[in-house]
């Protein structure tokens, strides 16, 4: 039987239990920190990208809707225009509309088409002079005030101006809530 030889004096000393634990703790922490940093490098831009609509400034654009002479005083008609934040691939879904009334020679009123209840498109009926909502039966008077049904507030309005004989509407975000 050969007796175990003592290690040579210059051989590396085997780590004791405390050293091993210390090393493992260090390696665990550095691994967790690196993983977190890597996740943040990917996760932060992804989250930022997904939430970017919240940081964009709400768009407002003047859109021409027709020659002023084309609208009769007292008449309420739907006018179509491109929404304020159209993207190149939006296609027809970038179109939007408003109910435009010529109050007198120089004054126009533009009502949002969205019911203030849940956003459905209201329709104007000239004979009874009412806006009616097909979804839940909201009714608005000609001035946009609520006449019946669940809408909590009057129809929204857009700013209107006449520039160079053209009626323009200041369109913006869909009026919600």
């Amino acid at each position: 039987m050969v007796a175990p030889q003592p290690p040579p004096p210059d051989a590396p000393r085997p780590p004791d239990g405390a050293d091993v634990l210390k090393r493992r703790r260090f390696l665990s922490r550095i691994s967790l920190a690196l993983s977190t940093a890597a996740a943040a490098v990917v996760g932060v831009p992804v989250l930022g990208f997904l939430l970017s609509p919240l940081t964009r400034k709400p768009p407002n654009q003047w859109r021409p809707v027709g020659a002023a002479d084309a609208f009769k005083v007292g008449e309420t008609v739907s006018v179509k225009f491109e929404d304020a934040a159209a993207l190149p691939w939006s296609g027809v879904s970038a179109r939007t509309a408003a109910w435009l009334r010529r109050d007198d020679e120089n004054t126009f009123t533009a009502f949002a088409v969205n019911c203030t209840h849940l956003g459905c498109p209201v329709q104007w009926f000239a004979d009874p002079k009412l806006f009616l909502c097909p979804c839940h039966g909201g009714v608005y008077n000609a001035d946009g005030s609520v006449a019946g049904g669940p809408p909590p507030k009057p129809l929204g309005r857009y700013s209107v101006r006449v520039r160079g004989g053209q009626v323009e509407i200041l369109t913006g975000p869909i009026p919600l809530g």
Partner: protein, 460 residues
């Protein structure tokens, strides 16, 4: 040769052994047909994954082109109409089956110890299934889808403080447009299915860990201290391998479900595409798919002052109830000792059913398709009465009021109005309006009001 190949594969991966163990794990005896709805829901989900992937090879998730690509899939692509039908009725099957599965688990007390997390993961899967159903309807990018997005965003907008931000997050901006459809497409085909896969994995792992619950027995309450030992003793004594002793029923029911979905896809076909997704076309009548029709009715029938509370608190309370169920995790499982459980399920089904029927009829919506009243309905030939009947139509009264079955149901039926109101009262109501009725003082002349009243006075 194949045996050697499989043996080698199993040696390297362990997958076959794991799969065999999972398939043959012992389950309690006499589980019966009530236990097939979970696997059928999963099968319906896989049907959605397969048909969805196929549809995604032709569907263009661009707001400008999605509608045309859907028309191509439906009208020109080989089997495209059938695939769309499978996807639509598969979604319906998934919603129905997960609903029945949740009700079955609740009624049989299968959520009790030690299966509380099975319930919670299942509850999340129920919510994700509804989210898939809603986002799927929006991918049918027609006029109805566009307005449905706006309605969803408007509801989100009612949330206190963060409402507008949530609405903008959903729309991916301030208007419906190019970014909106892409966002819902990503939710529908990536985010939500990924979560569903994760939760289904967890749900199945928990089923394997805790075993399929045995049929509840009256007078056999769940006791945390003894349940596991008793369950294991039951399996040792009477347990049967899941495959094929119990699984055959899952297979038969699943195959029947697929057959029914295929039959519906062939005979009824996918939902018709509405008008193109152009928000400037204002002649629209937005309606949700059938699974949300009841909620559409809730929103119409809730008193205005309670509406925001219902929109905001309703889903929160529903979610809280789902989360709270497993806190009642001990005691009797049998529904005979938990009659209130049956009452709760019946109540939920009845309420949803009643609102669903109301949503189907939508009596609160004006009848824009109303036609002028024919002479046979007007009956009287006096000029003033005939003029009144004409005005009743042209001035929009008929949108909300019916006479002899013609007209809307938003307001009271006026077929016999003269038996309950005098002409003077009618003048007052028309002039000043009433609850939910506009005042017509500024839009009708006294002569017009008189003519309408003359017509209504004949209705007795």
């Amino acid at each position: 040769m194949i045996k050697r190949l499989l043996s080698g594969l199993d040696d390297r991966t362990g997958l076959l052994t794991w799969f065999r163990q999972a398939l043959e794990h012992p389950v309690p005896p006499r589980t019966g047909w009530w236990y097939v709805f979970g696997s059928a829901t999963f099968l319906a989900f896989m049907l959605q994954v397969v048909t969805g992937i196929a549809l995604a090879t032709a569907y263009v998730p661009s707001a400008g082109d999605a509608y045309a690509s859907l028309k191509f899939i439906t009208e020109q692509a080989l089997m495209g109409r059938f695939l769309r039908g499978l996807h639509y009725f598969g979604a319906s099957a998934m919603v129905v089956l997960i609903g029945i599965h949740v009700a079955r688990v609740y009624l049989m007390g299968a959520f009790k110890f030690p299966r509380e997390l099975n319930w919670l993961s299942g509850a999340l899967l129920l919510l994700l299934t509804l989210a898939l159903a809603f986002t799927g309807q929006l991918l049918r990018w027609d006029q109805n889808a566009v307005w449905s997005v706006i309605v969803a965003a408007a509801q989100a907008g009612r949330l206190p403080v963060v409402g507008q931000d949530v609405a903008r997050f959903l729309l991916a901006g301030d208007t419906v447009g190019g970014a909106t459809l892409s966002r819902f497409f990503a939710f529908h085909v990536f985010f939500i299915p990924a979560l569903v896969f994760l939760l289904v994995g967890l749900h199945l792992a928990l089923v394997l860990r805790h075993g399929i619950s045995e049929r509840p027995q009256v007078g056999d309450p769940v006791d945390k201290a003894t349940y596991r030992a008793r369950y294991e003793a039951l399996l040792r004594r009477e347990g049967v391998p899941f495959w094929p002793d119990a699984a055959w029923r899952d297979v038969v029911f699943g195959a029947a479900m697929v057959a029914v979905v295929a039959l519906l896809a062939i005979t009824i076909g996918p939902p018709q595409l509405g008008q193109q997704p152009d928000p400037s076309i204002l002649k629209a009548d937005p309606r949700p798919d059938w699974y949300f029709l009841w909620y559409f009715a809730v929103l119409a029938l809730t008193p205005t002052h309670l509406e925001t509370a219902v929109i905001v608190l309703g889903p929160l309370i529903f979610g809280a109830i789902l989360l709270c169920v497993p806190f009642f995790n001990t005691g009797e499982r049998s529904v005979r000792r938990r009659p209130w459980a049956a009452i709760v399920v019946l109540l939920i089904v009845s309420v949803i059913g009643i609102f669903w029927l109301a949503g189907e009829r939508a009596p609160w919506s004006p009848d824009f398709a109303a036609k002028p009243l024919p002479a046979a309905v007007v009956r009287d030939t006096t000029p003033e009465v005939v003029e009144g009947a004409r005005l009743f139509y042209t001035k929009g009264c008929e949108f909300c009021h019916a006479i002899d079955g013609q007209g809307g149901a938003r307001g009271p039926d006026l077929s016999l109005v003269a038996t309950r109101m005098s002409p003077l009262e009618m003048v007052g109501r028309i002039t000043n309006g009433g609850p939910n009725m506009p005042a017509f003082a500024s839009t009708l002349t006294p002569a017009e009001i008189q003519a309408i009243v003359a017509f209504l006075a004949t209705r007795k």
